[in-house]
């Protein structure tokens, strides 16, 4: 057991836990943030995506120790921001959500992508989402949602 301290959605948290625990489990079970999902548990589906120091990361692969003194942002942390709302509207307008299990991860990847490329090309979108699987939509609606969020959020990203 170690004390692990990090910034989570702009608040300091300290957890006493086994530092090798997966960040995903700590978020869901200890901190009750259930937006990040477990799909594959081995880095292949992106359902568990979060941001660490503003960089996209698969929380199922991150040992808790690796976020000690770092900054973690989850879907709960961006949901209420201007960018988060833009994404939700765009996903909704484009019909980019069906069963929804991939959606939090997709939105985290979309967020990271738009922060890096505010005017992404189709190819940049495809690369940006290449670690996220969706079994329902067939991806095109999600690509269009990102294009819409880029356009409607001109200047925000």
């Amino acid at each position: 057991m170690n004390d692990i301290t990090f910034e989570l959605n702009h608040e300091q948290v300290t957890i006493t836990a086994d530092p090798s625990l997966r960040l995903l489990d700590v978020l869901r079970d200890r901190l009750h943030l259930t937006g990040a999902k477990e799909g594959c548990g081995e880095g292949e589906c992106g359902a568990c995506s979060v941001l660490i120091n503003d960089q996209l990361a698969n929380s199922c692969l991150v040992p808790l120790a690796n976020v000690h003194k770092q900054r973690v942002t989850t879907i709960e942390g961006i949901a209420t921001t201007k960018e988060g709302k833009l994404l939700q509207q765009a996903y909704s307008k484009e019909g980019a959500v069906q069963c929804g299990i991939c959606t939090p991860g997709m939105m985290m990847a979309s967020y990271a992508l738009l922060k890096k490329h505010p005017h992404p090309t189709r190819e940049q979108i495809q690369i940006g989402l290449s670690g996220n699987l969706c079994r329902c939509t067939g991806y095109n609606m999600i690509f269009r949602a990102i294009e819409r969020a880029a356009k409607e959020g001109e200047g925000t990203w």
């Binding site: 292949e44 996209l56 199922c60 990847a109 670690g131």
Partner: protein, 282 residues
């Protein structure tokens, strides 16, 4: 019970490693899968994990006239965007998994994992990369081929850490990297090919060829390369059959569920031919 070490500095890490059984954890992208347990249970470590990913003194890309220096915990995504990263290494990283994974995966971890399919490894072999290995009392720089001893086996002692990768800046005129796998964003290599040459006038003066995932470790054979260096581009292209035969004996893939031997052999040979036929006089 293992003890978890989150060091504040490289020195603290090396001090602890001296005299304890440890497992280095960098990005964790291999280890967290290999040691995985049922959800909610911590992964299984049988020796003390030493976490190094956050050590900023090991996170850098520098260069001088002769070499590029890569700190051990520099994430692959940083290398992908960095102007000093050799182009071949960028080509290989660009098709390793997806952005989220590349933000965590490190080259030192790719070396430490020593998988026959590690995608940065053939590049490091072809570029004559050196690996800096440090312990509390030692600091040595070894060629990559000496560091990797076999599948999942490195020369590292329990008290040693990879701290840096040094890549010489040799003047090449043409380079090619190809990886053949399944789904693009998440494919473990079935075969990869790396070729790098220097052509001066009509002559091939430096020839480097490396195959990944076709044998227990990367295949790079200096004897074959030397036999063909000094020839003209035309001669090399005329002799491509004998070049293929020379490599064929080294292609000894382990049959596994990802692919079979014949397929890998054919692909490897075709990629070699494609590389040689792409060469042009300067």
């Amino acid at each position: 019970m293992v003890k978890h070490i989150i060091p504040n500095s490289l020195k603290e890490a090396l001090d602890y490693m001296d005299g304890h059984y440890t497992t280095i954890v960098a990005g964790g992208t291999d280890l967290m899968v290999q040691r995985r347990n049922w959800a909610e249970l911590p992964p299984t470590f049988t020796s003390d994990p030493v976490y190094v990913f956050h050590l900023s003194e090991l996170n850098y890309v520098n260069e001088d006239d002769k070499n590029v220096y890569i700190g051990a915990v520099t994430p692959m995504s940083v290398l992908l965007d960095h102007p000093a990263t050799p182009q071949l290494l960028k080509d290989a990283i660009a098709i390793i998994a997806a952005p989220g994974l590349r933000n965590m995966a490190t080259i030192a971890g790719n070396i430490g994992n020593a998988s026959p399919a590690g995608d940065s490894l053939p590049i490091l072999y072809a570029l004559d990369a050196l690996v800096r290995i440090q312990s509390k009392s030692q600091n040595s720089l070894l060629p990559i081929a000496q560091v990797i001893q076999g599948p999942r086996k490195t020369i590292l002692d329990n008290n040693e850490l990879i701290t840096e990768i040094v890549i010489p800046k040799d003047p090449f005129t043409f380079q090619m990297f190809r990886k053949v796998g399944g789904r693009k964003a998440d494919a473990i290599s079935k075969v990869s090919f790396t070729g790098s040459v220097r052509i001066e006038g009509k002559h091939v003066t430096d020839l480097r060829i490396a195959f990944g995932a076709v044998a227990p470790t990367v295949v790079r054979v200096r004897d074959i390369e030397m036999e063909y260096e000094g020839k003209t581009v035309k001669q090399l292209q005329q002799q491509v059959k004998s070049l293929q035969e020379a490599y064929a004996t080294y292609i000894r893939p382990i049959d596994d569920q990802r692919s079979n031997k014949e397929y890998r052999m054919n692909v490897a040979m075709n990629l070699l031919e494609q590389f040689i036929s792409s060469l042009k006089e300067e």
